[in-house]
C-alpha cells in the first residue's frame, strides 16, 4: 500500500484534512494504525500527524487534570500529578507499548482494548475536540462515529479527593501483560459515610467502555456495606452487553462480571477479609 503522510501544525488544520479526505486517518502513537499499515489495510491511504504542543501536556487546573491526547501511558506514569491514574496506565500493554500508546488513541481502540478509557469515564472525563467543543467522554464514546473526522485534543478528569476514592481493576488471563477479559473503574466519594456522586465504568463489556448507571444508582447515597455491595452486584448485567471475542465469550464475561465487581467494591470498602 502506498501511504501519503501529512504533518499539520495544529489539530484544527488536521481536522480539515480529515474532513476533506475520507481515506485519511489521524495518527497518534501508531500502535494500532501501524498494525493496519503493516497488514496492508486498504481502507485508508493517508496518515495525518500534528506537532501541537498542547496535545503533549499534562496540566493542573484546580480539581481537574487536563491531559493532552498525545500523552503516552508512560508519560502519565512519570508525571507526579497523574499518579492517581497510574494503575490504569500501567495496565495497558507491556513497557514498549506504554512508551508509544497515547491517551487519545485509547479512546478509539476497539473492544476489548480501552482499559485506560474506562478509568477516564469513571473520573467524569470530558473530551475537547479540535474545534474547541467539549463533550462528556461517556456520551462521546456512545456516539463515537467511524467517520474518522473528529480529533480529540485533550481530556479533562476530576481528580479524586483521596487515594482511596478511585479504584481500578483489570481482569486478564495473561499476567502481567494481557488483553482485558474485563476492566472496572470506580470513583466512590463518601460524605458522612455515604456514597455521593458515584461513578462506575466497565471496559470490554460492551462495544465501547461504558458507564454502569444501574450500579451507580444502587450505590448512590448508601454506605459501602455488604448489603449495598450485593445490591450493586445484582444489577451488573443491566448496563452491559458483553461481547464474544478471542479472549472470552459473552456468557463467560456475564458470569464472572459480578465476581470481579464484588472484589473491587469489597476492596474499596476496606474490608480486606471480605464479607
Amino acid at each position: 500500500m502506498s501511504i501519503t503522510s501529512v504533518i499539520c501544525p495544529s489539530a484544527s488544520d488536521a481536522a480539515r484534512v480529515l474532513a476533506s479526505n475520507n481515506r485519511a486517518r489521524f495518527f497518534g502513537g501508531g500502535t494500532l494504525l501501524m498494525r493496519s499499515i503493516n497488514e496492508g489495510d486498504q481502507s485508508f491511504d493517508t496518515i495525518v500527524r500534528i506537532n501541537d504542543p498542547i496535545m503533549m501536556q499534562i496540566q493542573n487546573a484546580g480539581r481537574q487534570l487536563i491531559i493532552g491526547a498525545g500523552v503516552t501511558m508512560s508519560g502519565l506514569l512519570s508525571n507526579r500529578d497523574a499518579q492517581f491514574l497510574a494503575s490504569a496506565a500501567r495496565s495497558v500493554g507491556g513497557p514498549a507499548i506504554r512508551n508509544m500508546a497515547t491517551v487519545g488513541g485509547n479512546l478509539f481502540a476497539p473492544s476489548p482494548y480501552g482499559d485506560f478509557t474506562t478509568a477516564l469515564i469513571a473520573l467524569d472525563g470530558i473530551a475537547t475536540l479540535a474545534d474547541g467543543s467539549t463533550v462528556p467522554l461517556a456520551d462521546f464514546l456512545l456516539k463515537r462515529k467511524n467517520d474518522h473526522t473528529s480529533i480529540v485534543t485533550q481530556i479533562s478528569v476530576n481528580r479524586p479527593n483521596s487515594a482511596d476514592e478511585f479504584h481500578f481493576l483489570k481482569v486478564s488471563r495473561v499476567k502481567p501483560k494481557g488483553i482485558a477479559v474485563m476492566t472496572f473503574a470506580a470513583c466512590l466519594p463518601r460524605q458522612g459515610g455515604r456514597l455521593q456522586n458515584v461513578r462506575v465504568a466497565a471496559g470490554a463489556m460492551a462495544p465501547t467502555p461504558v458507564r454502569m448507571v444501574s450500579v451507580e444508582q444502587a450505590l448512590e447515597g448508601q454506605g459501602l456495606d455488604a448489603g449495598t455491595i450485593e445490591a450493586a452486584v445484582g444489577v451488573v448485567s443491566h448496563d452491559l452487553a458483553a461481547p464474544t471475542d478471542a479472549i472470552a465469550t459473552s456468557w463467560y464475561r456475564a458470569e464472572v462480571a459480578p465476581v470481579h465487581l464484588r472484589r473491587l467494591l469489597i476492596g474499596a470498602s476496606g474490608h480486606t477479609g471480605g464479607y
Partner: protein, 162 residues
C-alpha cells in the same frame, strides 16, 4: 511514492536514509540500514522481537513510523557489545542457556538492557514486567529472568564480563 529523508544516530553512528511514507522502522533498520539484529516476528506489536531503544525508551520498531524518528538516537543489539567482546547480558544469556532458537533474544536483550540502564538493581518482579512484552516460545522465561538478575547482581548492564 514519496520518500522522506531521515537522519538518526544508530548505535553511535550518524546515518541518513530515505524512507517511504508509512514505512516502519523495522524495515528501515533491516532493509535500508543493514542492521539485521531486530527481528520481524509478527509486525503486530505482540512478540517484541523487533524491540529497540529510541531516545532512551524501549519501543517496538515494527509499530514505529520510520519518518517519526528523524533526529533520534537508536540502539539495537548490534551496538551493545564492543567488537568481539560481548555485552554482560549476552554473556549471561549464554551461561544461563537463556537462548535456544534465539529468535526472541535480540528483543529480550534490548528490553533487559533498557531495564538495567534505568534500574540497576531490579527485583524479579521488575524483570518479569520489563520483558512482559517479549514472547519466548523456547525457554520458559526462567533462564532469561535468571540471566538478567545475574547481570544486575554483578554490577549492572554496562560492565563487560570476560
Amino acid at each position: 511514492m514519496t520518500k522522506v529523508p531521515v537522519q538518526i544516530t544508530l548505535n553511535g553512528k550518524e546515518r541518513s536514509v530515505f524512507v517511504e511514507a508509512g514505512q516502519n522502522l523495522l524495515d528501515t533498520l533491516r532493509r535500508s540500514l543493514g542492521d539485521l539484529t531486530p527481528k520481524y516476528g509478527c509486525g503486530q506489536g505482540t512478540c517484541g522481537c523487533c524491540s529497540v531503544v529510541i531516545d532512551g525508551q524501549i519501543r517496538l520498531s515494527c509499530l514505529t513510523l520510520a519518518e517519526s524518528v528523524d533526529g533520534s538516537v537508536i540502539e539495537t543489539v548490534a551496538g551493545i557489545g564492543d567488537g568481539a567482546q560481548l555485552h554482560a547480558l549476552q554473556t549471561a544469556f549464554i551461561t544461563h542457556f537463556a537462548a535456544q532458537c534465539g529468535f526472541c533474544t535480540t528483543g529480550m536483550l534490548m528490553s533487559a538492557k533498557n531495564l538495567l540502564d534505568n534500574n540497576p538493581s531490579p527485583t524479579r518482579e521488575d524483570v518479569v514486567e520489563a520483558i512482559s512484552g517479549n514472547i519466548c516460545r523456547c525457554t520458559g522465561y526462567e533462564a532469561i529472568i535468571n540471566a538478567i538478575l545475574d547481570v544486575a547482581a554483578q554490577g549492572g548492564s554496562g560492565r563487560q564480563l570476560s
